[in-house]
């Protein structure tokens, strides 16, 4: 491989990572935009969802990498898996909101955020104790198709990941900017009290934000499983923390910021690993988090925090 090919390959790697981080970052941003709550349970909603996706694929009789589908059956299997995973993930998010966070809503301060940390650990341990600690061999029905691209390799799964991510993001953007509920979400994000006075059902908006954010985490989780052919109960922490950094970098509360932040973090991870050594990746990423928090707390595309008195 010549030098350009290596960088092209790392660009491909970084964009795939970035797509996953972006989907995951959206969940932080949607909830933060409306409740100003950092939802740490999101880490492990992602992790649990990867198991939902695995079970959905196994339900179709797919296990390991033994069964390879092409054409319509592949599209059907993936569509089924995405719908099941995203629906279950969304419902999990709504359940967390309903059971653990709504009772805390009237409480001031950091109690709600700490509750989300608790919920995160509950999910983590429930999975550890029920499905076990070993790494799971994730089903992958995608054929091993790849194209040579100037010395680099572009695989079918990367193309699919980018395609699915773009569809989901465009869909989300349209939903937030065009639909009634989306407009209600934006109104609530700007000023919940005024929105309530205008007759917006704020509870419904909050439930929607949790559902959408968690469903996107579900999509990210399934993509994660298909991409790495692997899942385990520990995956939430590292991916979640990076996605959170992406959300902050892009401007927490901003939907397009989360997308941009995700891609940037993905690229930093792959190109940083190439230029230095992978053992420095965490140092680079979290230094960026600190620098953003100090010098540009509203992030790249974030609005300055509204003054709620």
């Amino acid at each position: 491989m010549n030098l350009e090919a290596v960088y092209l390959q790392q660009l491909i790697n970084g964009l795939s990572l970035g797509a996953m981080y972006a989907l995951l970052a959206l969940g932080f941003t949607l909830v933060y935009g409306i409740l100003e709550l950092i939802n740490f349970a999101h880490f492990n909603v992602f992790m649990v969802s990867s198991f939902f996706g695995m079970w959905a694929l196994e339900l179709l009789g797919l296990s390991g990498q033994a069964v390879v589908l092409t054409g319509l059956p592949l599209a059907g299997a993936l569509l089924f898996a995405f719908i099941v995973t995203m629906t279950l993930a969304g419902c999990l998010g709504v359940a967390i909101e309903r059971l653990a966070l709504r009772p805390m809503r009237a409480v001031r301060g950091t109690a709600a955020m700490i509750t989300t940390i608790g919920v995160s650990y509950i999910l983590f341990n429930v999975v550890l104790l029920t499905v076990g600690a070993d790494s799971k061999n994730y089903p992958n029905p995608m054929p091993n198709v790849s194209w040579a691209l100037g010395g680099a390799t572009l695989r079918l799964r990367e193309v699919l990941i980018w395609g699915i991510t773009i569809v989901l993001m465009v869909g989300l953007q349209l939903f937030v900017s065009r639909s009634r509920l989306g407009k209600a979400m934006r109104a609530t994000a700007q000023d919940a009290e005024a929105a309530r006075m205008m007759g917006i059902d704020v509870d419904r908006v909050i439930v929607t934000a949790f559902f959408l954010g968690s469903a996107l985490a579900g999509a990210a989780a399934l993509i994660f499983g298909l991409y790495y052919n692997y899942t385990s109960f520990v995956i939430g922490y590292s991916a979640g923390l990076r996605a959170f950094t992406a959300a902050v970098l892009g401007g927490i509360g901003s939907v397009s910021g989360a997308m941009l932040g995700g891609v940037i973090i993905g690229l930093i991870e792959s190109l940083g690993g190439q230029l230095l050594a992978v053992r420095w990746t965490d140092v680079i990423i979290f230094s960026i988090l600190v620098l953003v928090l100090v010098f540009a707390p509203s992030g790249l595309l974030g609005r300055a925090a509204p003054n709620k008195s």
Binding site: Q10, N13, A133, D134, N137, Y228, Y230, V234, V278
Partner: protein, 411 residues
């Protein structure tokens, strides 16, 4: 139903009530053997097989009336935690304190992992409580160079029924150079005590043997994505890859290296020997990987076939080589307790430690004797390659890891 006696034994024996009650037991002659293993986390399956090996020896001794008349009571402690997702040295230290504070514990088996061993050794040393590890191979723990750090009590308390990475890493480097005839290598580790240690010794010997070491990097076991480092490795075009580390990072490395660098020679140490690799990475990704163990390979030996059958019958799952080293470790302790009892001296930690030190016992892996640091006198590194055997269960270590021979010892 619990009898009153077993209820007392099951109480956390560190409590005052527990230890008083247990001391009163001396008439009934029971002693405790501590067992510390990562029973939750990424290495849980091989830890379970190690535990089974030890429990089997203890059960057999108890059926024959105990060791020198002493009934043996295993105290099983888990050093794996959810936060670490694998073995956790902090938990291992807590477990070591628990064993030391329990007067009935006369010796211990474990830990599985060197990271835990480094945390436990100083604590056990201060309590003069001997442990025998069936699998942890980091050489520092028993090296006289670090005696001040790991052996502040003075005497050797960390014994092994395996040899160390001072042989496992270098001998595999010799195998790479002599048998596999590779010219260049990229070295990775998983940032744990074991992984860094074995990768260091492998790298040093590779350089000595004239292999071109193209680079060295470190994987974060909690991170999922290794495509970056693998792309970098691919661009350097090495003949081979060596990974020092355990399964948590190893499984992901196997998967992703199969996609990115499918054809080069890939291998690791005993961290890559176990059902986790076969199950988590699966075929075809894991096929072709080399792994070593720091013990002679006796599982395939007809002499242990009968033992293997008994093991499989008792636990419903086949053993692996470190089940044997665990079984041997337990038998060394049982033999030591029996010798102390026979000599008429009190069966306590100090005497059991001294008896373990002077062990000369025929076991499944051959005769076991220890040097003054607690290391095995016999040093054998066995090499395996994962070769798919469709006729047998695909996660059965005994069949899917094909024995390739003994790695050449450096002169």
């Amino acid at each position: 139903m619990l009898s009153r006696r077993s209820l007392i034994v099951q109480l956390p024996a560190a409590t005052l009530a527990g230890s008083v009650a247990l001391r009163a037991f001396a008439a009934d002659k029971t002693v405790t053997i501590g067992i510390d293993l990562p029973l939750t986390g990424a290495d849980a399956q091989s830890a379970q097989k190690i535990k089974d090996g030890a429990i089997m020896a203890i059960d057999e001794a108890n059926e024959k009336g105990g060791a020198g008349g002493y009934k043996l009571n295993p105290l099983v402690l888990d050093d794996g935690t959810a936060t670490a997702g694998q073995y956790d040295p902090a938990q291992a230290a807590t477990n070591a304190r628990k064993m030391v504070s329990d007067d009935t514990v006369v010796a211990a088996i474990g830990p599985q992992m060197s990271g835990s061993g480094k945390a436990m050794s100083p604590i056990l040393s201060q309590g003069n409580l001997a442990t025998i590890t069936p699998s942890s191979t980091n050489p520092d723990i028993t090296s006289p160079k670090f005696a001040g750090q790991y052996r502040p009590g003075g005497k050797a308390i960390y014994f092994r029924t395996v040899t160390t990475d001072a042989f496992q890493g270098p001998n595999m480097a010799n195998y790479y150079a002599d048998t596999l005839k590779v010219k260049s290598v990229y070295v990775l580790d998983d940032s744990g005590a074991y992984g860094v240690g074995i990768a260091d010794t492998f790298q040093a010997q590779s350089q000595k043997r004239g292999l071109n070491v193209l680079g060295r990097d470190q994987l974060n076991p909690k991170e999922a994505d290794y495509t970056t480092v693998l792309t970098k490795i691919k661009s350097l075009n090495p003949d081979s890859l060596y990974y020092g580390g355990v399964a948590q990072a190893g499984v992901k490395l196997v998967k992703q290296s199969y996609d990115i660098v499918p054809t080069i020679v890939k291998g690791g140490g005993d961290g890559m020997y176990g059902p986790e690799v076969l199950k988590g990475a699966g075929f075809p990704a894991c096929a072709g990987w080399y792994a070593t163990i720091a013990a002679p390979h006796v599982l395939g030996d007809p002499a242990v076939a009968e033992w293997t059958a008994r093991f499989t019958k008792k636990f419903g799952e086949p053993p692996e080589d470190y089940s044997i080293t665990a079984y041997d470790a337990a038998n060394v302790i049982i033999d030591a307790i029996a010798r102390v009892a026979a000599s008429g001296k009190p069966v306590n930690r100090d005497n059991v430690r001294d008896a373990i030190q002077s062990t000369k016992l025929k076991t499944l892996q051959g005769e076991i004797t220890f040097d003054e640091n607690g290391d095995l006198v016999n040093k054998v590194i066995s090499v395996f390659q994962i070769v798919k055997d469709d006729t047998k269960p695909l996660d059965d270590v005994a069949y899917q890891y094909k024995y390739m021979g003994v790695a050449p010892q450096s002169a």
